[in-house]
Amino acid sequence: MASDILHIKDSYYFEIPKFMWQSHREKASDFPDWFVRLDDDYQAWEADPILVGLTEIGVSGDDLAPLKARWLAWQHADHKNAAWPLDGYLERQSEVVSKEASAWAKKNPTEANDPLKAFLAVNPRPEIEWFIQLQKDPSQAAKWTEVKAKVNSESHVKEYLNTALAKDWSKEKIFAYNRSLDGKILIPQPFGVPRNAYEAESGLCISKYMILEVAVALIMLFLFNWLAKRIATGAAPTGKRWNLLEGAVQVVRDHVVVPAMGEEDADKFMPFFWTLFFFILGCNLMGMIPWLGSPTASFSVTAALALVVFAIGLVMGVKTFGVAGYLKNICPSLGLPWYLALWVIPLLWLIEFASLFIKHLVLSVRLLMNMGAGHLVLLGILGIGISAQAASMSSVGWGSVATISVLGTTALSVLELFVAFLQAYVFTFLSAMFIGSSMHHH
C-alpha cells in the first residue's frame, strides 16, 4: 500500500527526529548507490552510454537526437515521472502506447493479427514507434537488454563516482540531499538493490517492517520463555509480570479459542494460536510507538498470516476427512428432499467453495485495513493542525485549530490502542473458527 502522501508505508529506512541523526555526507561517494542513481546529473551522464548503445543497435540518428530533451521534459512534466532514468522512460512510454493500443483495439476490432500495428497506423506515435519496433525484433531486443544490464550494473555507479562530474556536485546540492536524508537511518542492504527509499529493484531488500517483526518475535521468545520456566515449577503466579502473562495466555485459550473450536481440539492448536495472537498484538502495538510502525499495516504480512491459517485449515481438514470428504464437508447438509437437494446443493457448494477463499482473504484485509486506515485517519487529523499554519491563519486561529487537532489525535490514538487489541482478538477468534469448522462436521 504505497502512496506518495503516506508515510505509513514500508520503507528501507528508520525515521527518527531529524536533530538526532543528522546527515553529514560531504561528497557524492558518501551517498548510497541507489541515491546517486536518482540524481539528475548522474542520469544525464548515464543517458550517453544508453544513446551510444542504441546507435549501435541500429536506431537512426533522427530518432535519437531529440530523445534526451524529450525525456527531460517528460520528467519535469509530472512529479510521478521524477528520477526515472532514460531506459525506464523508454520502456514506460512503450507500455503506455501498448495499453492505449489494446484499449483502442477493443473498441475498433480489426482482422489484423497485430492490434499494435493497426493502432499505430491510425494514430502514429513517431517518438516511440522506433523503440516499439526495437522491442519486437528479437536480436535488437537482446542487445537492448545487454545495454540495460550494463547501465544498471553496480560498477556503473562506481565508474561515475570516479569521474570529475561526481566530484563536482555543488555545495547546494549536497546540502539539499543531506537535509532530505536527515533523521533517516538507512538500513544496510546486503541482499538486494533498492530502487529508491520505498521500492526494491531486485533481490531481497531488508525493510523497516521486517526488522520490527523480528524484534516482536524476539521479545515474544524472551517473554514466553521466561513464563514457561515459571509455569514449569508449578507454583502459583506471583508478581505483576507473571500474573499478566499467565492471565493473557489463559484468556486466549478459554475465551478466544475454546468458544470457537471446542474444548477437545483446542489444546492441540494452542501453541499456534498463542503465537498468532501475541505476534499480531505485538505488531499492532508497534504502531502505537512513535516513529516505529505496525508491520501488520502491510499487505504482505497479513496475507502471509491468513495464508498460514488457510493452509492449516486445509491440511487438518484433509487429514480428518480426506480430500473428497473435506470438499463435501464445506457444504452444510440441510436434510432437503431429493428434488430440492438436486439443484440447491450444487449451488450452495459453489458458494461455500468461493467463500472458503474469500473469508481468508477478508481475514487479512480486515487486519490490514484496520491498522492502515486507523493510522491514516490519525495522519489526516494531525495534518489538519499542521497545514493550518500553512494556510497562514492568524495565530489565534491556528492555535485553536492545532489544539483541537492534537486533542482529537490523542483521543483517536486511545481508540487505536483498543483496535490493536480487538483486531488481534478477532483474527485469532476467526482463525480458530475456520480451522475448527474444517475439522468438524458442518
Binding site: 477478508v362 480486515r366 485495513m369 484496520n370 480487538l422 478477532v426
Partner: protein, 95 residues
C-alpha cells in the same frame, strides 16, 4: 406538508438514480469514493442496529451483559472490516 416531503425525497432519489446513466453517456464515471461512502453508510446502519439489539438485550437480562458485549464487539469488528475495505477500494478507484 408530509406529502411535499415525500414527493421531494422521491425526486431526489430519482435524480441520484439518473446520475449513473448520465455520467456513462457523458463518458466520465462516478467517482469511486462515492461507492466507498455508500458502503460505509450501510455499515454504519448495520452496526447501529447491532448496538440497538445488544443494548436492548442487556437491558432485558443484565447478568448476561458480558456475553452480549463480546458478541457485539466481534460482530462490529467483522462489519467494520468490510467497510474499511470498501472505502479503500472506492477511494483508489477514482473515476
Amino acid at each position: 406538508m408530509v406529502n411535499f416531503v415525500r414527493v421531494s425525497l422521491y425526486a431526489i432519489g430519482f435524480l441520484c438514480l439518473m446520475a449513473v446513466p448520465a455520467a456513462a453517456a457523458d463518458g466520465s464515471g462516478i467517482p469511486g469514493a462515492i461507492g466507498g461512502g455508500l458502503a460505509v453508510l450501510g455499515a454504519g446502519i448495520g452496526i447501529g442496529l447491532l448496538a440497538k439489539g445488544a443494548v436492548e438485550a442487556i437491558a432485558r437480562q443484565p447478568e448476561s451483559a458480558g456475553t452480549i458485549q463480546v458478541a457485539m464487539i466481534i460482530a462490529a469488528a467483522l462489519i467494520e472490516g468490510l467497510a474499511f475495505y470498501a472505502v479503500y477500494i472506492g477511494s483508489t478507484q477514482g473515476n
